[in-house]
Amino acid sequence: PEGVNQQSDVNLIDVITPSYISPLLNNPEIASALFPHLPSDINRTPEELREVVQSPQFAQALQSLSIALQSGQLGPLLTQLGLDPSAGSGVEAFLRAIQEQVSRQQRNNPE
């Protein structure tokens, strides 16, 4: 139904799908950049990483972060990630702010 929820925001679950992410994890550079963010008792291998992004617990985390972003309650977290507070006005705004942050860093440190 329209009217209740006019602005259509995206859900992180549709952005980071296991089928899209899995092949990327074969890239050793990508995998090793993500290893530090795994739970400490999980082995640092692409296979384990793949299992984590396929787990229901990871899906749940994507879901609750999406909800939190939509509710606009994430000011302190955004600051921690070095993002502008305006990035907290929804999932798309959050994604665009990370894109902007990455592009800026790439311009400042061209490889």
Binding site: S8, D14, V15, I21, L24, F58, L65, S71
Partner: protein, 313 residues
């Protein structure tokens, strides 16, 4: 931030419940999910229960989404304080997993409660049901173990605000346990323990089946999901005790195989619990960065928009 009174919402999952009990320092207990709940498989259920003997108690959970509904308090709730049954009122909602477990543990003399729960039981035994519930809520050990299952996200979603975006799941639990020759229904939202009639340790599961079936039938029209969990003896302990007896080579091999399967299951529980407690935001953020660096993020946003549109149709 969490103040002293906060209890997190945790999943009603056998792996979670098993670890909770272990962390209360209660030994030798595990929780299994009872799969067959449909009426046509009640006969199968009988066999499952037989294989698990002794079953210390059952936790019947239901969960529905949407408007607040009453739990449907049992009309026969026994208001008189019954010394033989440990009954605690449910004082706050999210403590329900822990409360359901305690309803069984504290009513089962054959379970070794360990020092902490033994002391808790002694300390609270004279309390009335409301104060027992309050004591559970205020116990530092119980709360900290329970809350160790909260995800370590650096944010807490205020449920009153998030309800506008996503309906909160509402859980309720009822425990069934045989106490001193009678079958009891313990519902923290009820006024007291409900005596469902005499039973023995051998036939109580027979007697509880129609009660649970009746419950399910009562909620059948509403949008409710059921879950039935059983508190049983640690399977590996049971198998190892059996291994020490004079048994055939065939049975020995079968038992060793079962022990191996138990070990695999417990490893899986451990892994799932570690994922449950993990803060995934840094991982998510860095995956998004990878997509941005590869110039693929815009396309992913467009893809996600299409998915949202699809679901709206």
């Amino acid at each position: 931030m969490a103040d002293a009174g906060d209890w997190c919402l945790i999943e009603s999952d056998p792996g979670v419940f098993t670890e909770l009990i272990k962390k209360f320092n209660v030994g030798g207990i595990q929780v299994e999910e009872v799969w067959s709940l449909d009426s046509q498989t009640m006969e199968e259920l009988k066999h499952v229960f037989q294989a698990w003997q002794p079953v210390h108690g059952l936790i019947f959970l239901f969960k529905w989404q949407g408007i607040n509904g009453s739990s449907g308090s049992h009309p026969d709730a026994d208001l008189s304080i019954d010394d033989t049954v440990y009954f605690a009122k449910q004082v706050i909602n999210n403590a329900c997993a822990t409360q359901a477990i305690l309803s069984i543990l504290l009513n089962c003399p054959s379970i070794d409660l360990g020092p902490d729960l033994q002391q808790f039981k002694e300390f609270t035994k004279e309390f009335d049901p409301y104060y027992k519930g309050l004591a559970i809520t205020n116990s530092e050990l119980l709360r900290s173990v329970h809350n160790s299952f909260s995800r370590s996200d650096p944010f807490i979603i205020d449920s009153s605000e998030s309800s506008s975006t996503e309906k909160e799941d509402i859980f309720h639990f009822i425990s069934y346990v045989p106490v001193h020759g009678a079958l009891y229904e313990l519902d923290g939202l009820s006024n007291g323990p409900v005596n469902l009639g005499p039973c023995t340790d051998d036939d109580w599961l027979e007697k509880v089946r129609p009660v649970i079936q009746e419950r399910m039938a009562r909620y059948a029209s509403a949008e409710i999901r059921f879950n039935l969990l059983a508190l049983i003896k640690n399977r590996e302990d049971v198998y190892r005790t059996r291994l020490e007896t004079d048994i055939s080579l065939e049975e020995r091999e079968e038992l060793l195989h079962k022990i191996e399967l138990e070990n695999i299951k417990f490893k899986r529980y451990e892994r799932e619990n570690s994922l449950r407690k993990h803060n995934f935001i840094p991982l998510i953020y860095n995956i998004i960065r990878v997509l941005a660096q590869r110039g693929e993020l815009d396309a992913r946003i467009e893809h996600a928009k299409k998915e949202v549109a699809k679901r709206r149709k």
